[in-house]
């Protein structure tokens, strides 16, 4: 009976998935924009093209923005993002330390990216679809904390020590293999006993030169006793080396990768570099360019936005995450008077908010609070004494969203959203959110995909 109830609840919740997908797009999460150019024109491209070189950028721009007759065109739902630093040849000369823990100026340069997005569905009054382009810039102004950088550099040093250790031991096995090959020319019986002989000479050398080899990787051998490690290698060689060969350097090289766990360490460091913790401050700005008559000789800049996104994840603490956002948008009143659907607009809006995430085992809780201050200057006068008087209309709004997630399995997440969104322009009764969803990690369909 209980099982039947559970199945009934799950089935009901699953049927809400399609609706939930549509609504959750509106309940956009507070975060730094990944493609400001797309956001400023409300474009949601399926993929963002990211050319890795200037030549690839040129090819992408030419193939998407120029038609066969050589004229400029606006492609639909297309977005491109380009990072000049990583596309320059000089980036490969960056030192490994500057790569792993860049300075403030390096952080700014390395994260600088330019984006362009385009759509043919930018709606203006009378629901007319027009061409629009978005241009954006983003970068990271600050990332990481001292404690994290110290751990990062320590892990890098540990990997560099293992790299040197392996290189020396690989050379040792190469030298012994060469000697075995020479011996087998003079005495063919050597080949038959080569495995035994190789292991004997190799292990003896590692034991004799313990001070040298252990000195190459002090961090590794501070937690792994050298003699025990050599014994593990010996057992591995006995098990893995084939008989009847004289060159065992390939097998030894493979075994060393396993016994130093160097690849695992490198992945760990890559993840640290990819997802830096501590305090981060991201900056982004974008402007929209609209062609109301769908002709490129007549255009407006309807909107300019600037984002400043500070975030903080305590280092080596995966329970808490804090994020704030400051988003300033300026609208072009000439454009909105003449072409916009929404006549109840404000010249400027300032969104300010925060998101707090708490994760514990299978459970996570998110709370997002965002305030919005909107203002339009209706009249500005200057009297004879030079005193400026301003007449304006303002509006303040507030949005809060709470989100509870419970991971039932690796691919199924039970989610509940509750809160209130900013007042929609046309239907203010539609601001409340109360939504339970069951998300399957198999890429659920969108509402429009279901025919």
């Amino acid at each position: 009976m209980i099982m039947k109830k559970i199945i009934l609840i799950l089935t009901t919740l699953t049927s809400m998935q399609v609706v939930a997908q549509d609504i959750s797009e509106k309940v956009s999460k507070l975060k730094a924009p990944s493609s400001p150019a797309s956001i400023v024109i409300g474009n949601q491209p399926a993929t963002i093209s990211k050319p890795k070189s200037w030549q690839a950028l040129e090819a992408s721009l030419y193939s998407n923005y120029v038609n066969q007759s050589g004229s400029f065109i606006v492609p639909n739902d297309y977005a491109i993002e380009f990072s000049p630093y990583w596309s320059s040849k000089n980036s490969s000369s960056l030192s490994i330390k500057d790569f792993a823990a860049p300075s403030i100026s390096q952080t700014l340069l390395q994260n600088l990216s330019f984006s362009v997005s385009s759509t043919k569905n930018y709606l203006i009054k009378d629901s007319v679809k027009t061409d629009a382009l978005g241009f954006g810039v983003r970068t990271m102004l600050w990332q990481g904390e001292k404690k994290e950088i110290n751990v990062l550099l320590k892990n890098l040093l540990s990997i560099q020590e293992k790299v040197a250790l392996q290189n020396f031991i690989d050379k040792l096995s190469f030298d012994i293999s060469e000697q075995l090959a020479k011996d087998s020319v003079n005495d063919p019986k050597t080949t038959a006993n080569s495995k035994k002989k190789f292991i004997k000479v190799f292990i003896e050398k590692l034991q004799t030169d313990k001070a040298f080899y252990s000195g190459e990787a002090p961090n590794f051998f501070s937690t792994t006793p050298y003699d025990k490690w050599v014994e593990t290698i010996r057992k591995g060689l006995v098990k893995k080396l084939p008989v009847g060969k004289t060159d065992y350097s390939d097998e030894v090289s493979d075994l060393l990768d396993i016994y130093t766990q160097i690849d695992k360490d490198a992945i760990g460091l890559e993840n640290m570099i990819k997802d830096r913790q501590g305090f981060k401050l991201e900056f982004a700005t974008a402007l929209a360019l609209n062609f109301p008559t769908n002709k490129t000789d007549f255009s407006y800049v309807p909107k300019v936005s600037v984002w400043l996104t500070p975030s903080f994840q305590p280092f080596q603490n995966n329970y808490w995450e804090f994020l704030g956002v400051l988003r300033y948008t300026r609208l072009n009143s000439d454009f909105y008077k003449n072409y916009a659907i929404d006549k109840n607009y404000f010249d400027t809006t300032l969104d300010y908010g925060t998101r707090v995430v708490y994760k514990w085992d299978k459970f996570s809780f998110e709370l997002e609070l965002v305030g919005r201050h909107s203002k339009t200057i209706l009249e500005k006068t200057k009297d004879a004494n030079g005193v400026i008087t301003e007449k304006s209309k303002t509006d303040n709004d507030f949005q809060y969203i709470m989100n509870f997630n419970y991971r039932i399995s690796d691919v199924i997440i039970l989610s509940y959203n509750f809160g209130s969104q900013f007042k929609p322009t046309f239907d203010s009764s539609n601001a409340l959110i109360s939504l339970a969803t069951l998300n399957f990690g198999i890429g659920g369909p969108k509402k429009n995909d279901v025919k």
Binding site: W86, S91, S92, S93, L94, S95, I96, F99, A100, L156, I159, Q160, V163, A164, Q166, N167, F168, D170, K171, F174, S249, D250, S253, D254, D257, I262, D263, A266, I267, L269, E270, N271, I273, K274
Partner: protein
């Protein structure tokens, strides 16, 4: 993965000093090099480096071996590219996919001869 092995012959004029340049194709690679020169004068180098190897008179006595162990910590890189040059001329271009081998061991054998 097996060791990546390369060999090449380098021709130099009499008394010309050979200078080895090792450079990377991407940022985020760290490497250790052992340069096994004729006699007991082996050298070690780290990452991208420039090393003077000596004159051809000295180098032609025996082959020169370069052992390189490299690893990439660049989350955006898909390959590991390493270029070996002698006096500005490429002698070996190594490239492997990170998915095939994230920490390649490379052995370059160079034989020097006088023009």
């Amino acid at each position: 993965m097996p060791i990546y092995r390369y060999s090449n012959t380098v021709s130099l004029k009499k008394d010309e000093v050979a200078t080895l340049d090792i450079s990377f194709g991407q940022a985020g690679i760290t490497a250790h090099h052992i340069i096994d020169l004729p006699g007991p004068n082996d050298k070690q180098a780290l990452d991208q480096c420039t090393e003077q190897l000596g004159t051809v008179d000295y180098l032609k006595k025996e082959r020169t071996l370069i052992f390189t162990k490299a690893i990439s910590i660049n989350p955006n890189a898909t390959s590991i590219d390493i270029e070996y040059e002698i006096n500005g001329n490429s002698v070996v271009s190594h490239s492997n996919l990170k998915s095939d081998d994230p920490s390649p061991q490379i052995i370059v054998t160079l034989v020097f001869q006088e023009i």
